[in-house]
Every structure is written in C-alpha cells, then in structure tokens.
C-alpha cells in the first residue's frame, strides 16, 4: 500500500469512483474509458460527468449498446497496450459479455503462456434496495467468482473504493470491479488525497468483537455494522469483516477471526445456493471445523430469480439490519 497523503476529504462512493477515474485519466494517457453513455451524459450516475470535455471523445468513448464487444474491444485494447476501463451500465446487462470475460479476458495470459496479457478493469453497478426491479438490481459476483484468471472486488466504503480501484487499474490482469448502487450516495467517508492502493485480496475488520464473526461485502457490510453496533447495547460483541475482495479472498483474516470468536455468520445480498458464502463455509469447515462452537450459518437471499419492483417483493428478498441482528443474537447465544 502506497502511503497516502496526510490530507483527506469526505466523499461518497460515486465521488470516490469519479476521483479515482479522473486521476487515472490524468496520469496515464493509455487509460481510456468505454461504455454506454459514459461520454455525453457522463455515465447514468454522472460518475464521468464532463470527462469527455477534458479528455476528449477518443478517450471517453460512448459505445454502441453492445456489451459483448464493449468488453471484447477492451480486451483488444489491453492486449495492444492501452489501459481500458470498460463500464457495463448495470450489472444486469453483463450477460452478453460473459463470453468475453470468461472465455477471453480471463484466459489471455494463460493461453498465450504470458505472451499477451489483459490489464483490463470492468466496472459495473450492481445490487438492490433501490426499487430496481428484476433488471436493475441483481448481484452477479457468484457467476464470475468461479473463474480462474479473473479478480473480483466489491468495496463498500469510499476509501476502499479508491484504493481498490487504483489497485484494479494498476493490476496486470483483468479485474471485475463491483459498485453497489445503493451505497453510491448513501455512504460517505473519509478518503485520503493522492494516489494509494489497497491490495486486492485483503479483507478488513470493520468492527472488532469476540463472540461472533460476521463476514460480508457491499451494502450488507453497512447493515451488518448497524446491527452489530446495536447489539453492543445488549452487551453482545460481534466482529464484522468486510471482504472487499471476492476473488482472491482473504482466508487469513476469516480464519483468524473465526478462531477467536468460534462462530461464523455469512451475510450476502446474492442468493444462497452456490453463492460466495458457500465457498467461505467450505473453507472454514475444511480448515477450522473443530474450532467452531456453532454450525456455520448463511443469511442470504431466497432462491428466486430476482427481487421485485413492488416494495413488499423487494423487502422480502433483501435482508435488513433487524433481521441480521436477530441472526447474530441467535448465534451468539447458541
């Protein structure tokens, strides 16, 4: 981790992404941003607003609506020595690009035995709780975390967003960078000035505790923290780990915490079956089964195609700080 400047400012997650992209465009003219509506409008969330005025439409490219080739063209640019940052407007629309991400980007280095590499960042907003209905609220991480050759990060706090986005941009391999939509403007935090990176693959303990380990990422880290802080009033001590990186994942941080608390609860917004929690559960069962005082528990979305547009259908799909607090209470008392 490069040393950050001693000064800092308060940013939300949108501003953190924006500032980081701006610096990347400013500091390296190999950097290009491509995606739908990233230029003229400056991205649907205004993340790249006015970039096109400063960097020109050759480096801030409004692409046709063609996700497979947004990523495919970025792969070609990366192989040719540019540093593309491709945007998929919403994660819900990444499926046409699955071929290029999994079949091409993730295998470029491997299949050419290192002759060609694919230093590419694919950013995309994901997640629900924003009345986004079936096609503006999905989580996609589980579809990709099975794939060797890819890296996946999903930071939740502005300072982590900046440090991990810088790391993703500097990374010599393809990185899928997931930005939770509901945290975009909701979550504010102190962000160091200047260039710094946070290593991909390192989790962060956001709250110390000794009776239960909660592992999460994205929006649910914030809700888990809210729940864990409320439980402090009841005298319960819960540790909250923010994974930040989903591939690679930080085994050391999880095991160290679980060995201390002897209990593990995983919470994620994505559905349970085959989700990130399954891999974490398996790893902890393999490595530390006899150090546990309770069965591992996963609090995840139900096994339905997506959350609905109508409020009850969204709320039923999503968890909540209250539901998380209940699960935490039960586990501590187990």
């Amino acid at each position: 981790m490069a040393v950050a400047a001693s000064t800092s400012k308060i940013l939300n997650n949108v501003e953190a992404v924006r500032e980081t992209l701006y610096e990347a465009m400013k500091s390296d003219d190999r950097t290009v941003i491509l995606g739908e509506d990233v230029g003229n409008r400056g991205n649907v969330f205004l993340i790249t607003k006015d970039f096109v005025k400063e960097f020109g439409e050759e480096r801030v490219i409004d692409t046709p609506i063609a996700e497979a080739s947004i990523v495919g063209i970025a792969v070609g640019m990366a192989m040719e020595g540019l540093r593309p940052i491709a945007e998929i407007q919403f994660a819900d629309f990444i499926y046409p690009a699955f071929n290029q991400i999994v079949g091409e980007a993730a295998k470029t280095r491997y299949r050419s035995n290192g002759e060609y590499t694919c230093p590419l960042v694919i950013r995309t907003p994901y997640g629900g709780g924003v009345r986004g209905a079936l096609s503006h609220s999905v989580s996609i991480e589980a579809l990709f975390y099975h794939v060797p050759g890819l890296k996946i990060v999903a930071p939740a706090f502005p300072a982590d967003v900046k440090g991990l986005l810088n790391a993703a941009i500097d990374d010599p391999d393809p990185v899928l960078f997931l930005e939770h939509k509901k945290t975009y403007r909701l979550i504010k935090g102190e962000v160091p000035d200047g260039h710094y990176t946070i290593p991909i693959g390192k989790a962060d303990v956001k709250k110390q505790g000794n009776q239960l380990t909660v592992v999460s990422y994205g929006l649910y880290v914030h809700w888990a923290l809210e729940a864990a802080n409320a439980l402090e009033q009841e005298g319960l001590s819960v540790e909250v780990i923010d994974l930040r990186s989903i591939r690679p994942m930080d085994r050391g941080a999880i095991l160290e915490s679980v060995r201390k608390t002897r209990k593990l609860l995983i919470v994620h917004e994505d559905n349970k079956f085959g989700g990130i929690g399954a891999e974490i559960s398996a790893m902890v069962a393999e490595e530390a089964l006899f150090e546990l005082d309770a069965p591992i528990r996963r609090l995840c979305a139900p096994d339905v195609p997506a959350m609905g547009y109508a409020l009850p259908l969204e709320e039923e799909y999503m968890s909540s700080p209250a539901e998380m607090a209940d699960a935490m209470r039960e586990m501590v008392r187990f």
């Binding site: 070609g76 491997y110 990186s245």
Partner: protein, 342 residues
C-alpha cells in the same frame, strides 16, 4: 484465376507483385498444404490427438499474408489460418511444436494446434471461440488510431459461419462508427462443420453485408492468390491511410473434413467434393506460374522437395522436444504466484 493463356511470359494482372513475391506466395501455399497433411498423418499414426485442415484455403491465406506488412501490421486470425500465420513469418518448426503440444510451443502446449501468439510477428493470441477475436481486432485497431500510428493496420479473419455470431456484427459496427484501420477477411468455404452456407445465412454473399455497416464490401475469388492479394492490399492500404474498415470475402472451399475428429462423408457427397477439386489452388497456381514463365517446372519440383525436407526436419526436431511439465499447468494464471485464497 482468370488467365488460361498458354503463352509463356504473357502479361497478367499481378497487382505490382514481383516474381519473387509470387513464388513466395506459392511457397507459403506449399508449406501450408504440406504441414496440414503432416497434422493428419501424425494423427492417423496416433502421435497427436488432433489436427485441423485448411486444404482449399491456401490461396486466400497466402495472398492475404502478402498484403501484411511484417513488423508493423497486426494479425488477429482464427484457428484455420495456418497459411496466414506461415505467410507472416511463422516457421514449420513452430507449427510442429504446436501439433505435438510441446513445452516450447507458443502456448506451452496448452492450446489446440494453430493457436499461436507472437508479439514479434504481430500475431495475436486467439481462443477457439468463434468470432470472439473480431472485437479484439477492433480494440487493437482503436489503439492504433488513438496513438495516431501512421501506416499500420489490423487484419482479422474468420469463416463464413462466424458471420452469424452477434459479436461479429458488433465488431463491424464499431469499426465503422470509428472508421478504424482494419480489414475483415471472410474465408468463405461454404461449410461450418456440417452446416452449409444456406443454413447459415439467407443470401450467400457475406461481402454484401458491408453496405449495412457503411463500409466497402469486396468479393474476391479465394482460389486466386493474386486477386486476394490485390483486394486485401487495397483494403489494408485504405485502412493505413485512415480511410476506415473494409469487409473482404474470399470464396473458397474446404476440401477435407472439418478436423481429424470429423467425417464429412456423413453430411456431403464425394461427388460434391470431387467436383470442386478442379479449383484446387495449389496445383492450379503452380501451373499458372509455370505457364506465365514465373517458375520453371524444375524449380517447382526443387521447391517441393525442399518443402518436404523442411517439414520432415521440423517434425523430427519438434517431436524430440519435451512435453510441458505437470507443474506448468499452474503458471501464467495471473502475473506472479497465485492462490484464490490469500
């Protein structure tokens, strides 16, 4: 090949190609055919698990390769492009390393034969995923344009079946929007494994689609290497000048089965295939060069034996090379050492 003249040294449209270049094109065609045959032989001998076949594609590939500027242009080919790869500088030894899956192969023995990767040659790494390479070619062409590199262009190739893929359409569309320095060359061999052209598209001419994208579409006889050179050279020069993309279609034919794992007798008649043999570009171009006094019959025979000797030498040398180690499975997943759990 239009000219059927018997007059020695008769003039013909040579698109500026010297005698040496014409002979080089023919030699590439010979090496191509010899090495494809070697792949099949080695497979039948049980020495290699798999080979593909480009018989019928020699002219379109060798002609196009002559329009490629070595050390400058970028080639983003597909799996059936052995002749193109040879034509831009790949050696028979490298081909045999690939067929045998040896450690010294470009992919370290990971990929199917003829999936090369060489920055030195400007030869991009490809997968076997149909049409996926076309958007990489477009991205590379975008980089060339962004960096204002003068006189450099990208050549990307694919089969007729590939033109049905959505990614293929996306690639042409984007190239046209940005007037990129790229040439799309379709090697239309009328078959996609067992699916004939009529099952692939509603009308049989790929080049006609160019109009819909706003770029020139050029039809060329893919059995005539000189005509292919002329068409591809013109398109590459146009791209190099900043004139934008071109779609070139070379009509050819696939004389053999799709690969060693296919048996084309299950879906097309011997009569159909035999009738097309009259267009075989390898003997036809030899005859053409002799008839036009570019090549003597003796020189042709000498060339054939030297190509055979080179293929034999490459086969022996590559076969003697070691396989990758089991531990090589684990390298080059990412930069540096790797574990999904940190």
């Amino acid at each position: 090949m239009a000219a059927k003249t018997k007059t020695a040294k008769a003039a013909f449209e040579r698109h500026g190609l010297t005698d040496e270049q014409l002979i080089a094109i023919w030699r590439t065609m010979l090496v191509h055919r010899r090495l494809e045959a070697r792949g099949f032989e080695l497979n039948r001998q049980g020495k290699i698990p798999f080979a593909s076949a480009g018989e019928g594609h020699e002219a379109v590939q060798a002609g196009a390769a002559m329009a490629f500027e070595r050390g400058k242009d970028i080639l983003v080919p597909y799996y059936r492009d052995l002749g193109l790869d040879l034509g831009i500088g790949l050696t028979p030894y490298e081909v045999l390393l690939s067929l045998f899956g040896r450690a010294a192969d470009h992919s370290g023995g990971r990929q199917f034969p003829h999936h090369y990767a060489s920055k030195q040659l400007g030869l991009y790494t490809i997968s076997s995923i149909i049409a996926a390479q076309t958007s990489h070619a477009v991205g590379a062409a975008y980089a060339v344009k962004l960096r204002k590199e003068q006189g450099r262009a990208v050549l990307t190739t694919f089969g007729d079946g590939a033109t049905s893929e959505g990614e293929w359409h996306e690639a042409l569309n984007f190239a046209s929007v940005h007037k990129l320095p790229i040439v799309f060359l379709c090697e239309n061999n009328e078959w996609a494994i067992s699916t004939p052209l009529s099952g692939q598209m509603g009308q049989p001419n790929v080049y006609k689609r160019a109009e819909g994208y706003g770029m020139p579409g050029v039809l060329v006889d893919g059995f005539d290497p000189i005509a292919v050179y002329g068409a591809v050279k013109q398109a590459m020069d146009r791209a190099r000048r900043g004139g934008g993309p071109t779609l070139v279609e070379g009509k050819c034919y696939r004389f053999l089965s799709h690969t060693t794992d296919d048996d084309d007798r299950t879906y097309r008649s011997r009569d159909e295939v035999n009738a097309r043999r009259k267009d075989d570009p390898v003997p036809n171009f030899e005859r053409f060069l002799i008839e036009h006094g570019v090549l003597t019959a003796e020189a042709a025979e000498q060339m054939k034996s030297s190509v055979l000797a080179e293929a034999n030498e490459a086969t022996d040398r590559a076969e003697a090379m070691p396989y990758p180690q089991p531990s090589d499975l684990y390298s080059q997943v990412y930069a540096g050492p790797w574990e999904p759990w940190q």
